[in-house]
């Protein structure tokens, strides 16, 4: 529990949560490990959990017009991905695979996330605000290409 709580303190999605609130979030996380080149999820498939990278790096790949996967982003420690499916219930917008030497992540299921946010609206407010800020960060990152 303390390991995941320490990780959560270093992830911007959870900034502003106090110790008790972080304990509640830690209770709904699950640890998963991926070897190098393992697929975490594939584009256009259903998904209802988000991922927090504890260690290692993952590669985000998007299909082009010909259906070929192109690497567009490398994500490392402390970053989250897969959160869009929690918000819009849509399919995965990209494929993600672990890079060498592998990656360890914590996951939060959509059901557990929504239940926690509804049961404790203070947590819900902070997490939703932080999700919006995280998406803002990603949009600004994307805008830097133009």
């Amino acid at each position: 529990m303390s390991e995941v709580k320490e990780l959560l303190k270093q992830v911007s999605l959870f900034r502003g949560l106090n110790d008790d609130q972080l304990d509640q979030v830690a209770q709904i996380t699950q640890s998963e490990s991926y070897a190098a080149d393992d697929t975490v999820f594939e584009q256009d498939t259903a998904g209802d959990k988000m991922y927090i990278i504890q260690s290692g790096q993952v590669e985000v790949r998007v299909k082009d017009h010909a259906g070929m996967l192109n690497a567009v982003l490398i994500m490392g420690e402390g970053q989250i991905f897969g959160e869009m499916a929690l918000l819009d219930h849509g399919t995965r917008s990209a494929s993600v695979r672990a890079l060498k030497p592998g990656a360890t992540v914590y996951t939060i299921s959509g059901d557990d996330f929504r239940t926690l946010c509804q049961q404790d609206t203070a947590i819900g407010y902070v997490m939703m605000r932080n999700l919006a800020l995280d998406l803002s960060f990603k949009i600004r990152h994307q805008n830097s290409f133009s």
């Binding site: 992830v11 960060f137 290409f145």
Partner: protein, 79 residues
């Protein structure tokens, strides 16, 4: 302080993916960073968003070090 850093490879969007990661130390011009299997040199750092709590959000422009080596090899061949 945690530094959430957006990395973009100068002129290399098609060849190199960009990057995002959290760090305990801020990126510094001249330092090297590994994104995937490639090594890059940081050439510019600027704020991306205002700081919030103990998080700072930065944007770093990087260039591939391998390209520099290729350039050096080309210069050697020309000489």
């Amino acid at each position: 302080m945690i530094y959430t850093v957006s990395y973009v490879v100068v002129g290399g969007k098609k060849k190199y993916p960009s990057g995002m990661m959290n760090q305990h130390e801020p990126p510094v011009v001249g330092d090297q960073v590994q994104l995937g299997t490639s090594l890059f040199e940081i050439i510019e750092v600027k704020p991306l968003m205002p700081p919030s709590d103990n998080f700072e959000f930065l944007h770093a422009t990087v260039r591939p070090i391998e390209a520099d080596l290729d350039d050096q090899n080309a210069e050697t061949e020309l000489a």
